[in-house]
């Protein structure tokens, strides 16, 4: 992915769309207590009356210097808002990724080792179930069961590891199916390879064959997906963050759309996009460190 054109494209896309959408950041700030005089005055003071192009270049000019401006509504510097929200989203994303790997990889591996058996169906079924539920629904059910009925976990909030468990499962499970599918088909593939036969011909136990000879090969493509997946969790955890009250990037971005908060939306989406791009780059790096064929060139 060419980073710069993509980021510029995204920034233009947001800008154009925000200007097509009907809506007024000051009006929505005031909601019911709106006063027409005040709206006019404040908009003029905020420079919202300037032509589109002027506003875009004002924004981009600042962004290039690392200054995304002030959020209209929150009246705080966008960069600080993002840096405050980012660690929370990162924690959620990593935890969710961990969950999706913990569910997806073993499920995929076990399924691949016993293809077309009950074990295969059960494990794949369980991981695919996660991508078959709306997150807010599974979250609601989990909150009801584990927080309210059983009292094992807190309902929501973000004050430590146990608070992270349910959101991580809700989000991670929703991605486990993809990981499981990929691990399964990848491992099935690898198990057909000649070198697996070689390994068996050496008299290795099946466990050693799988663990030492098959898994690393099979998980290489999974690793690539994993890095991209973390990046997409970072940007896509909108609903999980809302339901579990996590002050993260997703909520920031959604609020920004709702309130037509251009600087904040540009800032948060560009940041998220940047993460996705970095996720891709990370995946490449990871892949090449893990795969000697690429590491040492051909």
């Amino acid at each position: 992915m060419a980073t710069v054109p993509v980021l510029i494209g995204v920034s233009i896309l947001i800008f154009v769309m925000l200007n097509i959408i009907p809506g007024d950041p000051v009006a929505v700030m005031m909601k019911e207590r709106i006063s027409p005089d005040v709206v006019e005055k404040v908009k003029a003071q905020m420079g919202l009356d300037d032509p589109l192009i002027v506003r875009y270049f004002r924004f981009i000019g600042g962004a290039l210097r690392g200054d995304f401006g002030m959020s209209y509504k929150l009246n705080r510097p966008v960069s600080r808002l993002i840096m405050q929200a980012f660690p929370n989203t990162l924690a959620l994303a990593l935890a969710a990724a961990l969950v999706s790997w913990l569910i997806g990889i073993p499920a995929g591996v076990l399924s691949a080792l016993k293809p077309n058996t009950i074990i295969d169906r059960a494990f794949m079924g369980f991981s695919v179930a996660g991508i078959s539920m709306p997150i807010f629904w599974s979250a609601l059910l989990m909150q009801y069961l584990f927080a309210l009925k059983l009292g094992w976990l807190p309902v929501s909030g973000f004050y430590g590891a146990k608070y992270l468990l349910m959101p991580a499962v809700a989000l991670g499970w929703s991605a486990a199916g993809t990981i499981a599918r990929l691990s399964r088909s990848s491992l099935l593939d690898v198990m057909q390879k000649d070198y697996i036969r070689t390994a068996r011909a050496k008299g290795l136990s099946e466990v050693r064959v799988v663990v030492y000879h098959a898994l690393k090969n099979a998980l290489l493509p999974v690793v690539t997906v994993m890095a991209i997946q973390v990046a997409s969790f970072l940007s896509g955890a909108v609903i999980t963050e809302s339901v579990f009250g996590i002050p993260g990037l997703g909520r920031l971005a959604v609020d920004a759309i709702r309130t037509r908060d251009m600087p904040l939306l540009e800032g948060s989406v560009l940041f998220a996009t940047f993460l996705v791009v970095m996720g891709n780059a990370m995946a490449d790096i990871l892949y090449s460190t893990l795969d000697p064929r690429i590491r040492y060139g051909r």
């Binding site: 959408i21 009907p22 809506g23 007024d24 950041p25 000051v26 009006a27 929505v28 700030m29 005031m30 909601k31 019911e32 207590r33 709106i34 006063s35 027409p36 005089d37 005040v38 709206v39 005055k41 003071q45 929150l74 009246n75 705080r76 808002l81 405050q84 929200a85 660690p87 990162l90 924690a91 990593l94 935890a95 961990l98 807010f136 609601l140 927080a147 309210l148 807190p154 309902v155 929501s156 909030g157 973000f158 004050y159 430590g160 590891a161 608070y163 992270l164 690793v223 809302s242 339901v243 009250g245 996590i246 002050p247 909520r251 920031l252 709702r258 309130t259 990871l286 460190t289 893990l290």
Partner: protein, 531 residues
């Protein structure tokens, strides 16, 4: 194995982040309050949405307190007494001595002058300048033509005098509204544009001091030991921000928060009132607020009074009140709801009569009915619920209504240009005066900005007159007449009902008094916790 090293690294990073992310929450004398949307700032001049922080961290010159269900009274606040000149233009407030801001300096008259001047200063970008519109020189100050406000003057260290450009009867009530909270000059200037955003840059005189503020997560307020009315009963208030109402509900059921506002789940009132665990802990109070449907006279055929009258008659308000709100409220036939001074209980009742509505439509030239739109903020279920039912009712009376959901920003933007079709809303009193209702909806610019487009010089004149009268009886007379003109004669507004505000409390919460006007935000000064 390099691969497992990677996994290890990720795992460790994850654990670090998790433990670093927050501190454990203290329990004890902590009142735990849920909040759906972050208040954004404690500075009530620059926001119009949340009164939580102004009501708990700041004080006003005078306070409007709840003296009974839905009843209020204006009492001394930071001003221990005040005088109003005979012509109703000059207000002199005598400040209490020895009131200190949280950061330690004493409140003086200069702070009051500064506070209101700051509001009018265009650089503040204040959103609540309306309340000071009547102060002499306010407009010049707002337009940047003056660098001070002529009508604001500190006579001495503890006396402040506010001069209005004409008599404005509701002014005292306005001074009790949260927007009129008093700031400290020195501290506020020093905090600059970060005032109200962090604990370090927030200082008022109120019963609670802001101690922690994590945006979109929580706020921690601690008791102000030196509060001039005495230390509050609880040690701390923890405000937990949770944007999902069901999550909030579960937090309450799991005992993690103390007060549940049934506005978040109106449908659950019977559940709570019948539940053995909660039924004894349901508090409710009337709310000085009115639910209404707007009518946009710019949109045909609503320029025809017969069509508007038909619309008034086409909604079975009783059924909605009984079924959707479990009868917890009263039908209203005017603009001034129960609890507002000058409320008129003897207004003619608007009867539900779909047949008559049809006849009226036919009379107006629409025998086959009328197409219309009902706008609402998308996903706002309290409105959706009413709209879906009303949509079905209107169909019986010949109105083919389509519900148009718009997101908030589009909704308010469209409304402010006067182009929004009918919508249902509630207006709760900011201060106990009819002006807060009539002027808001029917003043020349406001009637456009709220998409009524009810252009009646008669009404405009009466509104101005009402503001300047000082005799309460005379004012009430005027507003009651005006109400009849608007609702009964011109059918410019469809009154629905006023509702009770229902709260459910954890058993440990004592001394809970629902605020007179039915706001969700309230001062928690008087609440006590028993464990």
């Amino acid at each position: 194995m390099r691969f497992s090293k990677w996994l290890c690294a990720i795992g460790i990073a994850f654990i670090c982040v998790v433990y670093g992310a927050g501190t454990a929450l203290a329990q004890g004398g902590v009142l735990r309050i849920p909040y759906l949307e972050d208040p954004k700032t404690a500075d009530c001049q620059t926001q119009t949405i949340s009164y939580l922080l102004p009501l708990n961290c700041f004080d006003r010159l005078v306070e409007c307190i709840t003296v009974g269900p839905g009843e209020s009274k204006i009492v001394p606040g930071l001003a221990e007494r005040w005088e109003i000149s005979d012509d109703g233009r000059v207000y002199t407030f005598y400040l209490r001595k020895g009131v200190f801001f949280h950061h330690g300096t004493e409140l003086t008259a200069d702070d009051v002058v500064y506070t209101f001047d700051r509001m009018l200063d265009p650089n503040t970008r204040a959103l609540n300048t309306d309340i000071l519109d009547w102060v002499e020189g306010a407009r010049e100050r707002m337009d940047g033509k003056a660098i001070y406000t002529k009508g604001l003057e500190a006579l001495d260290r503890y006396t402040v005098q506010i001069t209005l450009r004409g008599p404005y009867a509701p002014f005292l009530a306005v001074m009790a509204s949260p927007q009129a909270s008093i700031y400290n000059r020195e501290f506020t200037i020093k905090s600059g544009n970060r005032f109200g955003l962090t604990p370090e840059t927030t200082s008022g005189t109120g019963p609670f001091v802001m101690k922690e503020y994590v945006l979109n997560d929580h706020l921690l307020l601690v008791a102000n030991e030196d509060y001039y009315r005495g230390r509050p009963q609880v040690d701390e208030i923890l405000v937990r921000i949770t944007p999902d109402p069901e999550t909030l509900r579960m937090l309450f059921e799991a005992g993690e928060i103390d007060i549940f506002d049934c506005d978040y789940a109106v449908s659950q009132i019977p559940y709570f009132t019948n539940h053995p665990k909660w039924k004894d802990y349901v508090a409710s109070s009337p709310r000085v607020g009115i639910y209404y449907y707007s009518i946009n006279q710019r949109i045909k055929p609503f320029d025809d009074v017969r069509v508007r009258k038909a619309l008034q008659m086409a909604i079975d308000r009783k059924l909605i009140l009984d079924e959707l709100f479990y009868g917890k409220g009263h039908l209203e036939n005017g603009i001034m709801p129960r609890g507002l001074i000058c409320h008129n209980p003897d207004l003619p009742v608007i009867e539900y009569d779909p047949e008559k509505a049809k006849a009226l439509l036919a009379q107006a030239g629409y025998p086959d009915g009328v197409e219309m739109e009902i706008a609402q903020v998308s996903g706002a279920r309290q409105w959706l619920r009413i709209n879906e039912v009303v949509q079905a009712m209107l169909r019986e009376a010949g109105f083919k209504a389509r519900i148009r959901q718009m997101d908030e920003a589009a909704f308010y933007a469209t409304r402010s240009t006067g182009d929004l079709p009918s919508y249902v809303q509630v207006w709760s009193a900011d201060f106990n005066d009819p002006d807060n209702f009539f002027y808001t909806f029917f003043a020349p610019k406001n009637t456009v900005a709220r998409s009524f487009n009810y252009e009646s010089q008669e009404v405009f004149d009466a509104l101005e007159k009402g503001r300047s009268l000082s005799d309460q009886g005379e004012r009430c007379e005027l507003y009651r007449k005006l109400e009849q003109v608007i609702v009964q004669r011109d059918a410019a507004w469809v009154p629905l009902f006023s509702l009770e505000h229902v709260y459910v409390l954890q058993p440990r919460v004592k001394n809970f008094v629902a605020p007179w006007n039915g706001w969700s935000d309230m001062s928690y000064y008087g609440i006590r916790l028993e464990d």
